[in-house]
């Protein structure tokens, strides 16, 4: 937390979507940091120690999102991770998000109210 507000790290290579997320999350009372790639996301995670992470599934490469989640796990991540996905993004039909340890998966286009509700619930735990 910073200045009494929770810090959320948003990782997506779509600048428009990041812009939108930032506006929606700041309106919800959160501090937002952004990263434009999985690699940058991992770096910022280590530097900033966010309270929650939102990542897109497909970024600069296929499965970048799931790779990031795995890297976060290896880096000892304990905070909730939400994944943004277009339905059917993942190349592997047999991928189970529960097995990856994700806290939630949101289908794009993301409903802002649903996202804020989920974030609030996850941060309260």
């Amino acid at each position: 937390m910073k200045d009494g507000k929770h810090l959320i790290l948003c990782v997506d290579d779509d600048t428009d979507l990041l812009d939108l997320l930032r506006m929606q999350l700041e309106k919800g009372g959160y501090l937002v940091e952004t990263a434009f790639s999985g690699e940058e996301g991992l770096t910022k995670f280590k530097q900033l120690k966010p309270d929650l992470i939102i990542a897109d599934l497909m970024m600069e490469e296929i499965d970048a999102g799931t790779n990031l989640v795995k890297e976060l796990k290896l880096a000892g991540n304990q905070v909730p991770v939400l994944l943004l996905s277009s339905m059917g993004d993942q190349l592997s039909l047999s991928t189970s998000y529960r097995e990856l340890g994700l806290d939630a998966v949101f289908q794009k286009p993301v409903n802002a109210e649903a996202l804020l509700r989920t974030i609030k619930a996850k941060l309260m735990r």
Partner: protein, 488 residues
């Protein structure tokens, strides 16, 4: 295109050599038994005199003893992948076993009469076996070796170097071993060996070529399918991603993120959002179709929790239902038998039904999602199955879900809407590709090709189940999808 298994191997030969050797090792045990039992049979049933039964038994024993080692070796290597890796070892085993066969064969033939025995024809059988087992050059080599053994036996007996056994009944009575007879035997068997080997190796070569061709074609097709799938995924993502972002930005505007909208602005933005949403759904369906086209779906299937999938699918639709003031009710049993499938496709099918139900139910109405176990019905595909779930006894009247689940063939998911209902004529075409229900225009749907229900039907079929609808005009519709239960 080079095979992944190795560049220089004759693929089908190396792949199947282990299996063939394993088969012949088992047949060799039968051959040893035949030699063992054939002696007494010939002596006591056919009335052949002078057979050395002890020597025949020894020949059978030698064959069996050597075959045990061969059998153990090839059993481990009979799997195709192992067969390709240990090709040289298998070829050595093949040489050893063919040599063993010729030695024992020659000895056994000598025991039952030698050069004049009808059993000489077994040399041809072994020439055929060598042609099937080994390469063409090796087959000719072994046919020549077999002919050499035969010639040694015949010439040896004619010259007196090999004693003639005193067997009567299986061979002509002892008499002059005419040189012309020897020449005729050698000529006939030589010719037969050559012709048999040429024909058999020729046929085997053709078979191997066609097998190799089929295998290459299949690998090429799989490779192309992989490329096509990857291409499609990337293309769909590259179109879907900006469209999805555009929808999100419009939704953001609608939520007042940049301030309140005037009425005409709000209306136009809503129309734009709906049009883009329709395009997103089309892209989503195309993506699922691409997934369904993969041949390896069966291999990707795993036990799935249908209850969790249905719950997730319903949660995803809560906002859309709320926007249209539609009550979304979930009726789940406390337990469900396991189903084998692909979680994402099952969720896609249920999401498809839910999206339609929410769109076609008038505001203020209700959509119910019910999950139950059932026995698959042998009646027409549109007939409801006999359900067994709490609160919905089927025609068989089974009282509770737990006992029904023990006998259940399928897990049935129903989505019951409050829409206008569908006529019988329309129902018949509903699950076909590019078909749309008659209420589509009335419900204010944007124009577009109808893929969703055909995709649901295909997903059901891939899961060994079925999809359909029960509906009457004016009474809403029950869309169902069934998944085969995974029996232990």
């Amino acid at each position: 295109m080079k095979s992944r298994l190795g560049p220089d191997l004759i693929l089908t030969h190396s792949l199947l050599l282990g299996e063939r050797l394993y088969l012949f090792a088992r047949l060799r045990f039968a051959a040893a038994a035949a030699i063992l039992l054939g002696g007494p049979f010939a002596s006591y049933v056919l009335g052949v005199d002078g057979l050395d039964l002890g020597a025949l038994a020894a020949a059978a024993g030698l064959l069996s003893a050597c075959n045990v080692g061969i059998f153990i070796a090839v059993k481990r290597l009979s799997h195709r992948e192992e067969s390709a890796r240990k090709h040289r070892l298998l070829v050595a085993v093949a040489h050893l076993s063919v040599t063993l066969d010729y030695i024992v064969l020659t000895y056994a033939i000598w025991l039952v009469g030698g050069a004049l025995s009808p059993f000489l024809a077994f040399y041809l059988l072994h020439a055929i076996l060598a042609a099937v087992l080994l390469s063409r050059a090796e087959a000719y080599g072994y046919a020549a070796i077999g002919y050499l053994f035969l010639s040694l036996l015949v010439l040896g007996q004619w010259s007196g170097a090999i004693p003639r056994p005193h067997v009567s009944g299986a061979v002509p009575p002892a008499g002059r071993f005419d040189g012309r007879l020897v020449a005729t035997i050698l000529f006939v068997y030589g010719l037969l060996t050559l012709v048999t080997t040429v024909l058999t190796t020729g046929m085997v070569k053709l078979l191997r070529q066609s097998e190799r061709g089929l295998r290459s074609a299949r690998e090429r097709l799989e490779h192309l399918a992989d490329i096509r799938r990857s291409f499609l995924h990337v293309v769909l993502h590259d179109v879907r991603s900006p469209v999805g972002t555009a929808v999100a930005m419009l939704a953001g505007l609608q939520s007042g993120i940049d301030g309140p909208l005037r009425e005409p602005q709000a209306r136009r933005i809503e129309r734009a959002r709906q049009r883009l949403q329709g395009a997103l759904e089309l892209l989503r369906n195309l993506r699922v179709l691409a997934d369904l086209a993969t041949e390896r779906l069966e291999a990707m299937m795993a036990p799935v929790d249908v209850r969790a999938i249905v719950r997730d699918a319903v949660d995803d639709q809560l906002d859309a239902a709320e926007q249209r003031r539609i009550a979304l009710r979930l009726d789940l049993p406390s337990t469900l038998p396991a189903v084998r499938g692909i979680e994402r496709l099952i969720r896609e099918a249920i999401a498809n039904y839910l999206t339609n139900a929410i769109k076609y139910t008038p505001p203020g109405g209700q959509v119910v999602v019910r999950v139950a176990t059932a026995k698959a019905s042998l009646a027409s595909p549109d007939a409801p199955t006999r359900s067994s779930s709490p609160g919905s006894p089927g025609p068989a009247g089974s009282p509770d879900g737990a006992s029904g689940a023990d006998m259940a063939d399928v897990v049935r998911v129903e989505v019951i809407d409050g829409g206008p209902g569908i006529t019988r004529e329309a129902q018949a075409k509903l699950f076909q590709e590019f078909a749309r229900g008659p209420g589509a225009e009335a419900a204010g749907r944007t124009r577009g090709i109808g893929l969703g229900l055909s995709i649901v039907r295909r997903i059901a079929e891939e899961h060994g189940g079925r999809a359909g609808v029960v509906s009457e005009p004016g009474q809403g519709s029950t869309f169902f999808i069934e998944f085969k239960v995974l029996h232990a």
